[in-house]
């Protein structure tokens, strides 16, 4: 067991995220690694290309903090609430700095990541034709189907420099069990050159090995393993804590102005040392309300021959 992979988020970001990198913080609404995004802001990374299907609040914060020069995305909204105001300020008005955009449909972006993870030369897909997106994005091309002669839209693989994937449980080497909405976690881990695994719980290897079908990320992909409970707050972790919806709505108000946004970032990101301090600062009653009642999976028998 190569326990040298175990480190703090501070160490992991310091070692594996560089200025100018293309970064993918994975998770489709679920298990978004907010703690990693905050640490990237604290360490002042800049000129990042931020890739995510749904930039969500985490990229809105990183854009406001000036970390990003480009956004690769497919849906730039505050899910269930409305706009991402920091994204809009940067893109529409260049505040705090201009933001380039590279835009896809959900299928197109998740397809690019899948193609990156599996190293496909390119991925043909039944979408984009008729839409205005290909005209605004040279990476979406049209070719001829060799079987039917029809026009087919294709996208190229996406291979981020670094991906952060938050999981429910991992062993010290990074073998990771994920359940609930599994989004693009597996594809992000396989597509990226460097992978930071962050986990609610670090468990013994035997727990992982008791259910290999549940392992979406095998250890050899992981460059670092961070034990980071509540990493995903205010998003959620199936079976661990619910989404803090109140905060998602509050974000809409916090971000009305760049200044008010930066006050938040000063207090809750730059003003704390790490996720543990952030959680300590957060009202405990609000957190308690996010804890679900237990509902366990029926076990399965793998058998031993």
């Amino acid at each position: 067991m190569d326990s040298s992979k175990l480190m703090t988020m501070k160490e992991a970001v310091s070692k594996f995220v560089a200025d100018g990198d293309t970064v993918y913080l994975a998770g489709f609404t679920h298990m978004i690694p907010f703690a990693a995004g905050h640490e990237i802001i604290r360490q002042g990374r800049k000129d990042l290309t931020l890739a995510r299907a749904t930039p969500d609040i985490i990229y809105d914060q990183m854009v406001a903090a000036g970390c990003a020069k480009r956004l690769i995305f497919s849906y730039a909204g505050n899910p269930g609430v409305g706009s991402l105001r920091c994204f809009r300020r940067a893109h529409e008005k260049g505040v705090p700095k201009p933001l380039e955009v590279e835009e896809y449909t959900h299928f197109g972006l998740s397809g690019r990541l899948f193609a990156g993870a599996t190293n496909m030369p390119f991925l043909p897909m039944r979408t984009n034709l008729g839409s205005g997106l290909p005209a605004e994005n040279d990476l979406i091309k049209t070719i001829k189907d060799p079987y039917t002669g029809d026009e087919v839209s294709v996208v190229p693989p996406l291979k981020p420099d670094v991906a952060v994937v938050h999981v429910q449980r991992a062993d010290a080497n990074g073998n990771s069990h994920i359940w609930g909405i599994i989004g693009e976690q597996k594809d992000a881990a396989f597509a990226a050159k460097k992978v930071i695994i962050s986990a609610e719980e670090i468990v013994d290897e035997s727990v992982i090995r008791s259910d290999p079908n549940r392992t979406l990320v095998p250890d050899f992909l992981a460059h670092s393993v961070v034990h980071e409970p509540w990493c995903a707050h205010p998003s959620y972790v199936q079976g661990y804590y619910d989404r803090d919806n109140e905060f998602y709505m509050e974000w809409d108000k916090i971000t009305k102005e760049h200044d008010s946004t930066m006050e938040y970032i000063q207090e809750w990101v730059l003003g704390v040392e790490d996720r543990a301090q952030y959680m300590k600062k957060y009202p405990k009653s609000k957190l308690d309300a996010l804890l679900p009642k237990p509902a366990f999976s029926a076990p399965v028998n793998f058998g031993s021959v």
């Binding site: 529409e92 034709l129 839409s131 605004e136 909405i181 959620y236 989404r243």
Partner: protein
């Protein structure tokens, strides 16, 4: 009419379009309410597939986002994001998809990307998400939208999700596997699409609405079906079932 809100009316009318046994790709909010209402009434075997990969969910509360944990606990299955789009949507497994958007034109083309120009937007909207993928691959697209002049436009600023493009010929050239726009449900009326030309056509007026009111809120000369109908008013059963779905009125304002 006075007792239901415009949103409630739209949801009830939309729910009626769903048939038992159909599969529907559901977003949160109003489409989720329409699908769940249909399931409680005429379509108990409606298969609900969420964009987040959850299939056959059994939500214990009104989902707060497309990936709400209540959509997973007790669901029939969950798959990854690429899988959801590839196996279900591209796989041709979805009958009905609900779409909204900032602008729609008379051929059902939808803009949810940008007001103004793409390169220098007046208002940058969230973008396609799965909308273009849904529009390209489901058998029937149903649009639910308030009937406002800024939403119904001669030409969309950006074509995010293809409707019938410039009419059915333009659309046929794309050879999409989907069936294209099927209905647009507003607070005033229900549009369907002319089989030959692909143009949006008023097929039913909601209670108390005149065709003049529809025309006033639509910038092009609206086409009206020969057999224009009156939308049957919401039944008590529909209203009660709907309100039970969203008791806190999160979406039913």
């Amino acid at each position: 009419m006075s007792e239901v809100s415009p949103t409630e009316l739209m949801v009830i009318v939309a729910a009626r379009e769903l048939k038992d046994g159909e599969s529907v790709l559901v977003g949160v909010g109003v489409p989720n309410l329409a699908a769940n209402l249909a399931k409680r009434l005429q379509a108990p075997n409606l298969l609900m597939v969420y964009e987040s990969g959850a299939v056959g969910s059994n939500p214990s509360r009104m989902p707060l986002s497309i990936g709400d944990p209540c959509l997973v606990s007790g669901a029939k299955s969950v798959c990854s994001m690429y899988e959801q789009f590839a196996y279900y949507l591209q796989g041709g497994r979805i009958d009905v998809g609900f779409l909204g958007g900032a602008q729609i034109d008379k051929f059902g083309n939808i803009n949810s990307t940008v007001i103004g120009s793409y390169k220098a937007p007046k208002v940058r909207l969230p973008g396609s998400g799965g909308a273009c993928d849904i529009a390209s691959n489901v058998k029937k697209i149903i649009v639910i939208t308030p009937h406002e002049k800024r939403r119904f436009v001669e030409k969309v600023d950006f074509l995010t999700s293809p409707g019938f493009i410039d009419g059915k010929d333009g659309w046929r050239k794309l050879k999409l596997q989907g069936g294209g726009p099927y209905a647009v449900i507003t607070n005033l009326c229900t549009f369907k699409f002319d089989e030959l030309t692909g143009e949006m056509t008023v097929v039913a007026l909601h209670e108390g609405v005149t065709i003049e009111q529809v025309q006033e809120n639509t910038p092009w000369k609206v086409k009206v079906a020969d057999d224009l109908e009156s939308t049957p008013p919401p039944k008590q059963e529909e209203i009660e079932a709907l309100r039970a779905l969203d008791p806190q009125k999160i979406y039913l304002r």
